[in-house]
Symmetry: C2
């Protein structure tokens, strides 16, 4: 994982508000390299299935080799999203995802790069200071193969309140 | 988190195959109690947003109090699923989810209980030895409120191959 350089108590000033999430726009949100130690550590804590813990069991599984928990892949993706976008934004959290696809296994040593594309954007009816954004998250490995796809929502404070 | 008692190298014998995932059946898959230390540890590693790291920032956020990363909630849910079902099953992994909803924040000390309901089941066309199951995962807190809902797929080896 990326070393934690974020200053916990004092997030940087807000650069991106709801208005800056333009439909069709695409952002490159950096890369992370996986390690076997981190894959094993996450699996021991949260997903102790044999193919995430043991080389021999993984070799006999559909994956063919030790691979990361799908939830670990999501968590690493979130870290890229937070470090390279959300902590500079007016993000207020997420109500969820429309879909999540684990497309390919993630192996130790893989380099994963995140791209975010804004699919939809709308004001929130009851909150004149908040807008909702729907985005596609694509995580691609060093061979150019998509390993994870997510289509999800985020709530962001608006730079300018809607007029009543 | 639950202490790791699973024997990594030698998973228990298979009790549940695809045929045992009957549409409409519901399983209770145990509970986990969250701790502040684990919420902070996960957030530092994967989701360092102020409302997951800092009491004061959380108090001023929409959540009102320090709360777990949504991805941490998913990871804790997966641990219940693995310990109380998947590692006794013929599971071959998951291609993804149809939807994921973070319905309520999860706070330190919350007790979360997982229920799984089978929604759909079908053979896999090209694999006479494998079936696909679609299930609803509901995670409920100690007040009876749903905090997480997921609708997702799992692939399981069949007890009996389809006849050709």
């Amino acid at each position: 994982m990326i070393p934690a350089t974020h200053n916990e108590a004092a997030p940087s000033a807000i650069k991106y508000y709801w208005e800056d999430m333009v439909v069709g726009s695409r952002r490159d949100l950096g890369s992370v390299q996986t390690t076997k130690e981190e894959i094993l550590s996450f699996a021991r804590q949260f997903d102790p299935q044999p193919f995430h813990l043991d080389e021999d069991a993984a070799r006999e599984s559909v994956f063919g080799s030790l691979c990361a928990s799908g939830w670990h892949t999501c968590a690493m993706t979130m870290r890229l999203m937070v470090d390279n976008f959300l902590n500079d934004s007016s993000s207020l959290g997420s109500p969820g995802l429309e879909s999540l696809k684990w497309l390919k296994p993630v192996f130790p040593g893989d380099t994963l790069t995140l791209h975010l594309t804004v699919l939809e954007s709308r004001p929130m009816g009851k909150r004149p200071d908040v807008g909702l954004v729907r985005s596609a998250w694509e995580l691609v490995n060093q061979h150019g193969a998509k390993v994870l796809y997510m289509d999800g929502y985020g709530m962001f404070r608006r730079r300018h309140r809607a007029s009543d």
